[in-house]
Symmetry: C2
Subunit: 237 residues, 2 copies
Amino acid sequence: LAGDSERLQEKEMTDSTNNPVHDTTLINRIGRYTCEEYFARVKAFHGSIAPGVIIGGIMVDMAMARIPEKILFNAICETSSCLPDSVQLITPCTIGNGWLTVFNLGRFAVSLYDKYGGTGIRVYLDSNKLENWDEIQAWFLKLKAKNEQDTNRLIEQILIAGRSIYSLDSIQVKSQYLTRKPKKSIGICVACGEAYPIKDCDICKGCQGETPYETRNLSLCISTHSHMSVEDGSLPK
Amino acid sequence: LAGDSERLQEKEMTDSTNNPVHDTTLINRIGRYTCEEYFARVKAFHGSIAPGVIIGGIMVDMAMARIPEKILFNAICETSSCLPDSVQLITPCTIGNGWLTVFNLGRFAVSLYDKYGGTGIRVYLDSNKLENWDEIQAWFLKLKAKNEQDTNRLIEQILIAGRSIYSLDSIQVKSQYLTRKPKKSIGICVACGEAYPIKDCDICKGCQGETPYETRNLSLCISTHSHMSVEDGSLPK
């Protein structure tokens, strides 16, 4: 019975979001959680109850309500800020399992799409719909310094604004992001001695100069092989 | 008391990893979890008990044991496969909070480093140390098709191999990845009408052609603003 009433509640939520432009129903659930539960999960995973992860949760929820049940969906975030954590908290998609990809376009938008066909839904926080929500607007457009921000009021506005501040697109993901590439063969990089996908070149991408390290020293253990890499620009990365 | 014995256990673990090359102590804890607890968390978050997330957990654990207590550390993964989920499961670092960054170099390596100074520890699965562990070697170097893989035996080998199959480097992260860039000003893209960091250009990166979408139609709601973007290559992205 509990399960049924929960399913009913979810159905109601789905129905009420058919025209999100005018839907200012108070947000009281995010994903399968009450707001309180979701906030606790955000705190535990993300480290703080960041407005972006709350907004992201509502956006992901709106996208989920619009994709057919029982399809396998993947997710795209158009920013690495906050939004990926919303996806990871309320969908099965994570960075490490490959069902979530971040394209750093700097837009606060998330898409869920059929992983085979590529059709899906994109949801974004719409700056054109924020005129009545000064605290959200100030946060989103960075009009205030962070220490001037009234976080309680901001979160209150996010919940009260409901689904009225978002817009939706239907999308078709490019085919190059849909087809799983054939498993790459693994080779051993002649420069650093580590395993890497050989399609990248004779040497791995790290040794090609894409390393984030200034220096790297094998000072911490006796290695059983002979490489002596130091990432100083002249030796292997 | 329970707390004390747990702390003691962690200290023992730290001590026993001082020379990981010869440390074949059975893995019985990963992060602050027993293996059983960690496996359950991996299943819930990642979707399956993937060998890469188990190995990743041991690697992150080894790195954590070697960074000074009470420093704020960030994480780098050199692959997007599996490893980022290990970091997100046992450290406070996530993609969305910005403390975890993925550099897709194709190497199975993770680094934890002092977020201000950039000094840290890099741990990688060392292909030169796998001669006694045929199932791990076959998995890592992709010598077997996935359906020929004996996953139980693989996970057993991972736990029995202990910390003997990894190598460690000390690293210094490049300064450009340490300094927080000043907050970018937000503008509205003249092409798609969405908010974006204006340093990117007059139009957002999506409209510059980096969009992952073939098509994008505002077919799902009445927008309050006038743009009619279609991602077909000629109109805004």
